[in-house]
């Protein structure tokens, strides 16, 4: 039983860290620019496709990952300069519509370029098997994901919490007008943050590619989860995104794994079989509703 909980906790950590990579960019774009971006999930999808295509061409997962991230960052730059810059000043409805339109375009373009069937992306040969930790076997590749996720999360935290650029970013999230008045190039800062968010998307997409499948529409379901994360954490807060991501990742994984067992022990088998999966799948939304009920601004509101 302890081994099961430990393994599930690792799974939850892995899932949570990947969610954090997605939520980090999203929460900054929301927080600083007050801009809702539904197409964030599409950047994740396109990033994963870039990684898969580059990995196939170079016959190396790591080269593919690097090239894919660079490609997604470039795409993010183009999008920011051509479209998002126009959107910051618009109302939320316009932002919703324009970024929903981007989703349609992205999904269809991917279908045109790579076809409707999912792409297969394999992890590096050396990481395909299991490794033994604490007396049980765990997939080596998932451990690598956890490692990369932890390093990126730490760097991001240092960058935002300790560096000068990070200070500007936080200042921008807390009070945009004041930051501008202090003579900081907010426009350039916006572009940089957006591009950085796109790169993080591609990193998450590329890392998850071998575990999941690189396919059309993969961005949409993950986008909603990223939303839940930043609602829980508080929009514009990196710390909130990290805490929110870990909460969502752990609650979802543990709920899916332990709830059916738990219910089977307490309820008649029939009721448990009906209720278990239903409850597990909406657990994080219930959690979100509960947190909002008590703290409508999330756990770590950026604007105090």
């Amino acid at each position: 039983m302890t081994q099961l909980v430990l393994e599930q906790a690792l799974n939850g950590l892995q899932f949570g860290l990947m969610l954090f990579l997605l939520a980090a960019g999203l929460t900054l774009v929301f927080g600083i620019m007050d801009c809702i971006n539904l197409a964030h999930g599409s950047l994740y999808m396109v990033g994963a496709y870039f990684v898969a295509a580059a990995a196939q061409a170079a016959d190396s997962f790591w080269i593919g990952l690097g090239a894919g991230i660079a490609g997604a960052a470039l795409l993010g730059l183009l999008l920011e300069l051509s479209l998002f810059r126009q959107l910051y000043r618009r109302d939320h409805l316009s932002q919703v519509l324009a970024t929903f339109a981007l989703i349609l375009i992205a999904n269809e373009s991917v279908r045109v370029i790579w076809g409707p069937a999912p792409l297969m992306l394999n992890p590096p040969e050396s990481l395909a098997g299991p490794v033994e930790i604490a007396g049980f076997f765990y997939p080596a590749y998932r451990l690598v994901i956890i490692g990369v996720g932890l390093v990126v999360a730490a760097l991001l935290y240092l960058l935002v919490a300790k560096s000068r650029v990070g200070m500007w970013v936080r200042a921008g999230a807390a009070n945009r007008e004041m930051t501008e008045a202090l003579g900081i190039n907010v426009r350039g800062l916006f572009t940089a943050v957006f591009v950085f968010g796109a790169a993080l998307c591609a990193l998450a997409g590329g890392l998850l590619g071998p575990l999941l499948a690189v396919q059309v529409g993969m961005g949409e379901s993950v986008l909603i989860l990223a939303f839940v994360v930043i609602i829980i954490g508080g929009i514009g807060s990196i710390r909130g995104a990290l805490v929110g991501a870990l909460i969502v990742g752990t609650v979802d994984t543990l709920g899916r794994a332990l709830l059916p067992t738990l219910l089977r022990a307490t309820l008649p088998a029939d009721a448990a079989a009906t209720l278990g999966p239903a409850l597990a799948s909406i657990l994080i939304y219930l959690l979100m509703a509960a947190i909002l009920f008590f703290k409508p601004q999330g756990l770590f509101p950026a604007r105090a």
Partner: protein, 315 residues
């Protein structure tokens, strides 16, 4: 900015198009194209759903990305009624509206405590929760949805013929549009619009802003439920896909193409989008790219939508 006021010339236009819509099934049968009667019914139903979102969005100023939840719940109520042996539309339709409306009341009560992007994301998350709830519960068919093997009746009349269901949908749509038009002139409607324009002032004047918004939100949900129940009877099933957030997005697109806040915005948008889909898809498989570009164009250059082109001088 009283967008919701129909002008006199519009009344004439409405009468003419209503007459044409009444004649449509006869015409299609004469042309041996009765497939399009079902298609036209679909358009009418989506027009109703989009109009209900327009009520929330254009009229009440609430950007909800979770409207599909109420639409889908209406469909499921119809299917559950069929399963339970309730086949009378006079019972099924109000029930669908009631359940969807109550659920909207609940969602609204939590979501309306928040503002801006939070509201958008929370409505979205609630809709997604509903979606997951339905696909993972075996009692409601899970991923498969729930079948309706035989359409409901209406006041004892059979709706088996596509034409019959078409006229029912037309009637419901006409009634709801009439209700919306009246509503806009009534005290309630004026208050909600005033809140949209200046919330702080209305609050200062002592209006219970939250309550007005909530009622508007719930009303929109109820009408969406009505549309969902009709759609389930048309397609013969309640599908979880109706609950998916992309469905909310599609409804939103319809409203915006048609014109946010214009009485006919939802209707025009549904007609335009579904016709484009039906006839463009055959020629251009990847028409979503064109649609996406069109939408971005609308946002950047014509933010008031198509209906605005007709109603500009009455704004």
């Amino acid at each position: 900015m009283a967008f919701y006021r129909p002008a006199r010339w519009q009344n004439a236009a409405v009468s003419v198009s209503l007459a044409m819509l009444i004649a449509l099934p006869e015409l299609l049968t004469a042309l041996d194209q009765s497939y399009y009667t079902g298609f036209a019914t679909r358009v009418l139903i989506f027009a109703l759903a989009a109009s209900s979102l327009n009520l929330v969005l254009g009229f009440g100023g609430m950007v909800s990305l979770g409207h599909a939840a109420f639409f889908g719940i209406g469909a499921y109520v119809a299917a559950i009624c069929y399963d339970a042996g309730i086949h009378e539309g006079l019972l099924v339709l109000p029930l669908a509206a009631l359940v969807a409306g109550l659920f909207a009341l609940l969602v609204g009560a939590i979501s309306l405590r928040t503002r801006g992007v939070y509201f958008i994301m929370i409505t979205l998350a609630f809709a997604q929760m509903t979606y997951y709830l339905f696909i993972s519960s075996s009692a409601w068919g899970g991923d498969d949805g729930m079948p309706i093997y035989e359409r409901m009746q209406f006041a004892g009349f059979s709706l088996l013929a596509d034409e019959a269901l078409y006229y029912l949908a037309l009637g419901v749509l006409a009634l709801c549009m009439l209700l919306f038009a009246r509503q806009a002139q009534a005290r309630f409607g004026r208050t909600v619009q005033a809140i949209r324009e200046n919330e702080t002032r209305m609050e200062a004047l002592g209006y219970p802003v939250f309550r007005y918004r909530l009622v508007c939100f719930a009303l929109g949900g109820a009408v969406a439920g009505l549309a969902g129940a009709l759609l389930a009877n048309l397609t013969g099933m309640a599908s979880p896909n109706l609950l998916q957030w992309t469905q909310s997005g599609t409804l939103l697109v319809m409203v915006i193409i048609g014109g946010v806040g214009y009485l006919w915005g939802g209707l025009v948008g549904a007609v335009v989008l579904l016709l484009l889909e039906e006839f463009l898809l055959a020629w251009f498989e990847h028409w979503h790219i064109a649609l996406g570009l069109l939408l971005i164009g609308i946002v950047l250059f014509a933010p008031r939508g198509v209906a605005a082109l007709f109603g500009k001088h009455h704004g």
